[in-house]
Structure formats: C-alpha cells, structure tokens
Symmetry: C2
Subunit: 182 residues, 2 copies
Amino acid sequence: MSAIRYVLLTLLVREPLSGYDIKQQMNSRIGPFWKVGSNQIYPTLSKLRADGYVKLQGVKLHEYRPARKLYEITEQGREALKQWTVESGGLGTIRDELLLKAYNLWLVDPAKMIVRVEEIKKQHEGILADYLAKVEELKPLRDSRLKMDPISSSVAVVEFGIQYEKLYIDWCNRLLAGMGDD
Amino acid sequence: MSAIRYVLLTLLVREPLSGYDIKQQMNSRIGPFWKVGSNQIYPTLSKLRADGYVKLQGVKLHEYRPARKLYEITEQGREALKQWTVESGGLGTIRDELLLKAYNLWLVDPAKMIVRVEEIKKQHEGILADYLAKVEELKPLRDSRLKMDPISSSVAVVEFGIQYEKLYIDWCNRLLAGMGDD
DNA sequence: AGCGTCATGTAAGGAGTTACATGATTTT
DNA sequence: AAAATCATGTAACTCCTTACATGACGCT
C-alpha cells in the first residue's frame, strides 16, 4: 500500500473528515512535509473505502452547503496504520531547488543571486512564524495526563519544522555573507 | 524546461561526464537532495542533446572498458543554466516517512517505535559522517584566489546537509527522550 | 447578477521508482 | 569459471503537478 493512503489515514484516525477537510489540513498541518492535491485525495478515499480501511459516516446535506462526504476510519484501517507506523521505511529526500542552485553559485552574478536568496529566506521566515504560532496554539491543548496524546505528536512534528526553518534561514544568511562584500 | 534537465547541466557545467558518471555523482554528491535513476538520465541526456544544451565529446572505446559516451555542455546549455539559477522557483518539500509516522506516535506501542527511531537515527549518523568526511576532503581543494569557485559552492551545499543531519539526529533524541522512561 | 468560497471530482502529462536487459571487462 | 563492476539503456507502473469542470450556497 502506498504512502498517500497512510497520509490520509493519519489524518482520519484522529477524526472523521471529508476530502475537502483533508485538503485543508494538508495545506496547514502537514504542509511542507507532504503535499497532496484533490486529484489524489478523492480517488484515494474511494480506494480506501473499497478496501475497507475507511467508511462513509454519512453525507450531510443539512448543516453544510453542498453535500459533504464524511469519511471515518475502520478498525481495519486503524490496525493497518498502526502497523505501517512501526514498520521500517526508506530515508527521506529534501527536494529543494535552491539547494541545487547553490551548486551553481560560482557561475552566476552574485548581485542577482543575492536577490533570489533574500526572497527565499523571507518565505522561510514566514513559514517559521506560522510554525511558532501553531506550536503555541497546540501546546495548551495537550493532555497532560497522557505521555503521548495526538496533540503532543503534532507538536513533535511542528518542532522539527521550526528547527528546519531556523537552519534554512541561518544557511541563507551564511550564503549571503559569503557572496556579499567581504 | 524541467528540473532534472538542470540537475544534469549542474553537473556537466563543471566537467564533461557520461551518463554513468552522472549517476555516480548523484549518489555521492547531490545524494539525499535529489535522486535520479538511469531511466531518467539517459533519455534526458538525449533530449538535452537534441535541443543543443549538450553535445557528445566523443565515444571513447579505448581507455575505458565498454563504450563510454562523454557529454559536454554547450554555450547554450551554460547560458540556460545560469538563467535558471537566478530565476525564482517554488519552495522545497521534505518527503520523509518518519516525519509522517511521528504524527501517529500516540497510537502505537512506544517500545516498537523506539526501535524504529533508533534505526533511522543510526542511518542519519552514517550520512552525517559521510558529509563530514566530504567537507574535509573538499576544503583544501578550494581556490583561495576566488570568492566563489565550484568547490566552495559544493561546500556550501554539503554544509547544509551537515546541519540538517545534526538537526535530524537531535530531533530523534528528543523523540526518544519523550517516549522513554520519564 | 456576479464574485467568492465550499465541495467533489476528472484529465493530461511529466516525474519518479523498481526492475529488468544486454554486454564488456576486471577481479577472485 | 564465476562474480563484481562498468556502462548503456528500456519497461511498467505509480506518483505528482497543474489545470480544468461542475454545481450549490452566501454575500454585496
């Protein structure tokens, strides 16, 4: 079973969601770690349902504007997700154009590259600010009685994001220092 | 023009290479930042050649065992690469299964997850060691007369890798501390 | 009436993964 | 003689990206 299916189950194990909800949560929560479009979400939900990992909780016409299909994880889906989580998987990859472009720093006009790096740095500063806001929002929601609750797990992931963005911004600064007047 | 084409040009702008060489350099140099297989390399080289971005330097039957096609970047290829390097591009994504799995920490048996995290941590320690060795190997090769030479650009990228692996290992340690006996 | 957002989906095409095919040379 | 490595490629399949299509509801 492919990774996207587990991505959806990862969200559905916490609460029943519609395809649209999943798309929203992808953009905000899982954001830069994994991106999924509606073209993948809807067919994947159908397949998960056909295989018995999720079921339709009901299509609610009332309360919501257009019909909204709420999907709920099944016991089978929950077990499959638990197993996948503790299974070994391959190493990840960082797919970042700037990292590739940095190999060509020596080739190009530093002035032009400085503009580009500053631009990307600003974008990462924006993401960092979002993560910091999110972690502050999540922290008080943690269930202190449990060692590991869903919120704490989310916090752990967002904290990775925070550290990553900080390192990215630092790296941009070092690049800029190396290209600037020295 | 797509990203893989620039990946190949990024390597070819430094020295003429064969498809096989490119694959080797991918695994070692660009490694975890961008992965490309032979199925993408050979057709892409053909397309780049058809479009005039690279040319065949000659097929050397002597000196090498099987026939080895050496590709060389053209002036057109060099200009295209320079332009792409200073162009703006989208944000990168980290595609890492453990990051996704961490969302499900609360779901699973901590003992099983500890084994998994320790395993992945060890892999990252190995990559870090490789990067550290590589940077020490590259540093003395830098051309100190230039502000930016190809080696310095490579060093900048590897240094990103070093910082990333350190952060990953730290994050694994924090996860383990959170799951362990406390 | 028109625009924005909610909500579900499809189409087309390129990118990426895993595996296989072929054949020469070098090492054990 | 067999196995490993060098070297070029193809095949099949899944994934991912960008864009489009459809329609209801809510606001101005």
